[in-house]
């Protein structure tokens, strides 16, 4: 449609007018030909040079009539085509993005119907464009929200992953600690068992020493009683000594008396006085001996008393030793109890620690699962983020599409 002729030919009005003109010319030509065939003879004279002026006039008037007709046709055609032109303009504007130009045609004919339908359609499209705008706006908002939420989720997931790794490390440390605790508890158990053995041997030794002490006690008691008997016996000796002393004293007196008698007898008693002196000396030596014996007896008695006292002290000490040994035995019993309790407690600790260890292992496994889930969540978050970005792109696209139309109110 570059050339004007082609543009002209493309116009419906002109095509229609040209067709009608051509049709009128053909019909008139046929009419005229029929008239000429029927009335050629009669018309012959008319179409002569004589009548040339008149014929020319007729032709001129015919041409004039034709021109007026054409002009009328064009005017009418233009008038009929005007609403269509308006519609077409509006459509062209819509195609350029300027939508919403309504067509005002008040007629009831096909053009009017078309215009009303077109107006309705425009309204619909405007509504659609609005909706698209709104939707894309909301879509972009939602996408950005999703994006931010996903970012938050991603950072949360990262934190969660860090926390999980920390927790896992802590739990592993805990597990190591539990292992140590369990080892220590086992060591405690073995030590307690060793202590139990030592305590048992100590108890055995204590029993032995108790027996030995009882034996010592019995020995001491028997020796004490023997010593006491010895003391009593020596007292008896002392009594006998007293008797001997008395006898010696009396002998001494007797000897003295004998000496006196001898002296009174004078020369005759000389020899007797010697005998009396001898008897006296013997008595004195007996007294000396008894004194010596009594000294020795006293010493023996003192020694015996010392011995008895020493034995009593010994007995007391042995009793003290026995008491001490009993106390030690009680202490050992106590130690046994404590060791047993310790063993039980250590075993309980060990068992509890084992449980804790397995629990911790479970926690570690759970934590690893949680970490995997968190990684999956992070991956999902990334997917969601990319999807949200795509959504945002779509929203941008749709908003671009929407903004391609400028709505004219």
């Amino acid at each position: 449609m570059s050339t004007p002729a082609k543009r002209f030919g493309n116009r419906f009005l002109y095509k229609y007018s040209a067709a009608i003109v051509a049709l009128a010319i053909v019909v008139n030509a046929i009419q005229w030909l029929t008239i000429y065939l029927a009335f050629g003879n009669e018309l012959g004279p008319i179409f002569s040079w004589d009548h040339a002026n008149r014929l020319l006039g007729v032709a001129a008037s015919l041409v004039g009539v034709a021109a007026v007709w054409v002009a009328a046709l064009v005017l009418i055609g233009n008038r009929f085509m005007k609403p269509l032109e308006q519609l077409s303009q509006s459509m062209r504007a819509a195609c350029k993005g300027e939508i919403g130009n309504k067509v005002h045609i008040e007629s009831e004919d096909e053009f009017g119907q078309l215009a009303r339908s077109y107006n309705q359609m425009v309204d619909l499209i405007v509504y659609l464009v609005h909706q698209t705008h709104e939707s894309s706006r909301r879509l972009s908002m939602s996408a950005s929200e999703i994006l931010s939420a996903t970012e938050q989720q991603a950072s949360g997931a990262a934190e969660q992953a860090a926390s999980i790794s920390e927790t896992t490390a802590t739990m592993e440390e805990l597990a190591a600690t539990y292992r140590q605790i369990a080892d220590n508890a086992n060591q405690v158990v073995s030590m307690a068992e060793a202590t139990l053995g030592s305590a048992e041997s100590g108890q055995q030794a204590l029993m032995n020493s108790l027996d030995a002490m009882e034996e010592i006690k019995a020995h001491s008691q028997s020796s004490a009683s023997r010593i006491l008997t010895l003391g009593e016996r020596s007292q008896q000796i002392g009594q006998v000594l007293t008797i001997i002393n008395n006898i010696a004293d009396q002998t001494k007196i007797l000897a003295l008396n004998a000496a006196i008698e001898a002296a009174r007898a004078g020369e005759a008693g000389k020899g007797f006085s010697v005998v009396a002196a001898e008897i006296r000396k013997l008595a004195e030596s007996v007294v000396d001996s008894t004194a010596e014996i009594s000294t020795i007896m006293t010493e023996i008695q003192g020694a015996a008393n010392d011995l008895v006292i020493a034995t009593e002290q010994e007995l007391t000490q042995v009793q003290g030793g026995v008491d001490l040994a009993h106390t030690t035995g009680e202490s050992l019993e106590h130690i046994f109890e404590m060791i047993e309790r310790t063993t039980i407690a250590a075993k309980e600790i060990s068992a509890a620690t084992q449980q804790q260890k397995s629990a911790t292992d479970q926690v570690v496994r759970a934590m690893r699962e949680v970490a995997a889930v968190a990684q999956q969540t992070a991956a999902g978050g990334r997917q969601v983020a990319s999807t949200a970005e795509q959504l945002a792109a779509i929203a941008t696209e749709s908003s671009q599409v929407g903004s391609a139309f400028s709505v004219v109110e």
Partner: protein, 180 residues
Amino acid sequence: MTEHQKVITPVIEAEEILQRRAETLARNIEDSSTAERTTLMVFRVGEFWYAVRTEDVREIIQNLAVAPIPCVPEFVRGVLNVRGEIVSVTDGAVFLGSTAGSLGRDSVAVVLENAECQTAFVVDEVGGIIEVPTTGVEPPLPVTGHAEPDLLVATVFLGDRLVSLLNVDRILRPVSTVAQ
């Protein structure tokens, strides 16, 4: 008891005693044969040693069962039955001016006598009968002689010990006075 003695006194000691005894016996016989001798009985009253001539001593008695009698001087403690004979008891301690002791079963009395009377002279300890040369009997020391010139008639030195020889007549004089 004999066992104990055996244990306490060793055989050597016993032998030594016997040896000493033999020596003493030998010497005594030697001494008596050389000089004129007199026999004295030595006893102790308080812290002093006294002696009387054996001629004046009848006997020595123990286990004094003294019956107190009233209205007598302080030195007369009572009377005593010596084998059926009543004898007065003179407290030597009081008589010789030392602290009076108590009479008991252990007390010893020397029965002194002269022609007139006799008394049981209570002493603290009887030393024994000694023989001394007559030269050994000396007059009393002036210091002691002044107090009782009649009582202490002589002094005898026995080793380092001074023994005062008592006059039995002087002792018996107040006793006889009391008795009369």
